[in-house]
Symmetry: C2
Subunit: 382 residues, 2 copies
Amino acid sequence: MIAYATERAPLGVGLVQTRYATWLEPLMLDSGALLAPVTLAYETYGELSPARDNAILILHALSGDAHVAGRHSLTDPKPGWWDAMVGPGRPFDTDRYFIICSNVIGGCKGSTGPSSIDPATGKPYGLRFPVITISDMVRAQTRLIDHLGIDRLLAVAGGSMGGFQALEWATAYPERVRSAILLATTARSSAQTVAWNAIGRRAIMADPRWRGGDYYGYEPPVDGLATARMIGHITYLSELSLERKFGRAFQRGAPSFTMEQEFAIESYLEHQGASFNARFDANSYLYITKAMDYWDLPARYGSLDRAFARTQARFLLLSYSSDWLYPTAESLAIADALRRMHKPVEHVEIASIAGHDAFLVDIDQQAPIITEFLNGLTRERG
Amino acid sequence: MIAYATERAPLGVGLVQTRYATWLEPLMLDSGALLAPVTLAYETYGELSPARDNAILILHALSGDAHVAGRHSLTDPKPGWWDAMVGPGRPFDTDRYFIICSNVIGGCKGSTGPSSIDPATGKPYGLRFPVITISDMVRAQTRLIDHLGIDRLLAVAGGSMGGFQALEWATAYPERVRSAILLATTARSSAQTVAWNAIGRRAIMADPRWRGGDYYGYEPPVDGLATARMIGHITYLSELSLERKFGRAFQRGAPSFTMEQEFAIESYLEHQGASFNARFDANSYLYITKAMDYWDLPARYGSLDRAFARTQARFLLLSYSSDWLYPTAESLAIADALRRMHKPVEHVEIASIAGHDAFLVDIDQQAPIITEFLNGLTRERG
């Protein structure tokens, strides 16, 4: 992965900045509620072609943001969350494509969410923020794509919840999507994934610091959010990757015979919990996991086949052999439905021990597949 | 399972009672600490033969107790936790065998644990209870088997953490164990299982009601223990069984668009958390999961092969196809080591969708295998 990036594009997209678009017109939500104003944080890289036909929208997962590539300043310790995938000579090639990454509503990374000011009260929404769905997230994004002057996207692409959004784009706005790249994703949240999210939400709401959601200005529910994140984190990794990374190593070499945290895996989880608290809002975790739990494309259309009846996109599905959160069977269900509906689809299962996180970290295997898929689209067009 | 029990033994073992054995002599623990007095809760069923050669010790899992079969009173709503397996004509046939079930130290079901009175202070131990291991649990049980006048057990049998204890018996006291029946178990806790336990412990200790472990006489840390139990519970069930039992059903038929619990799986988890709080002590959860995390038989002996060097037992291993907590690979590792050491072993993988809990609920498939294994032992003896 490092070799790949170094050889082909040592500099990546360089310095970038997050932009914000705000609409005062209310956004109608699936719940029936109206949300206004609506702000979306987004970043773009590369240039929109004169024909406006080279735009690719990248959608992020649960804890992601609009900052997919590059650095915000020369002293930034880390680049964007998918930097190895986005840049000159990289699969989402900024020399050829106009790349957009949009944050989701409900989040805490610059878009309107529960930590935003509720214009009705002048205070943060907290739990007065309306419950949102994946459809609502995408409905807000259509405004951004309109704002950027783009009728039809060359591709929508995303992993995990980013894949939910990409599926929503391809099915709800079929005429606006030429292709969809779906990584490590599913067309419906399973009972097990609902269960993990529900336990995380319960842990947050049971933390007395949560205060019914009105903790802004106070210490936030750090223990609850840490528990939620730790549960999530284990579901993102395979048993084998945990075994290889941590095994049964003790931090101090031997059992302490106390209730202190002492296994290396415990310190790692503690670090994950603390660093997540430093960058994420607990209420946003409630809202976004709820949106994920509601995600059920076949239920909305009557069946998965029917969901794809009007799609105009070519689909590329990537699943990862050790992903037990959204296992390959979930991608196969999507690919099978697309084939039954005579829609163009390719599915590749990538051998990886990285679990669900493979789409973020196993770049070497997925990069050429995505590069070739996008090449095929532009060949077709040219 | 019901059909099986009804046809062959409608009455089971009938009314039973828990007994208690207490020793004043200090028990030396792996940590170096001494524990005294030590009480073990236990139940027995059937009669010890004059030759004292028909005793079978059943070991329980994390949240189990000594009450494996029968009822404590005529109004008892439920029988013991493995009632379908223990009784006249059942696999652990009380017409033929003398069945003993011993509770573990560290627990809260009548044996000495963190909720017991510390003789040094006259108050419950809380976190002053010494950290214990699976070896310590079994070392205490050797006193009980001595007390019952039994030199050699016909069998030790247990699932999950009960399997840990059975392995400990067979390896640490090889001359006392003629056979070991290991269900849904492992010879070492993996990084992933340590992680789940560690998250549960953290949730308990982060609950302000926990009070550093000194919550006796106050409201206990019900939210923390519920979170821990919910996490555990999901690991005990397969994704498919959750899908079949609950799927994406809403309690009230449709999304509420609130942060209320609304999926059927959420109500189920809530019920699991509440009922666990009614029957289990949070500090015992800390101590027993810690003992499980320390469980690492190959590390103690240098390798799994060496752990079995002196064993005299025949081994029967049962694993369950959908158990992802202690998957079949864990049983294969044990069986392979035993074969390399030329020890008698049978391993059967049972097809089940019930996940780790299969050993408790999928009685029909495992019952004849265990019956036959025990028959083989007594044929051999006779």
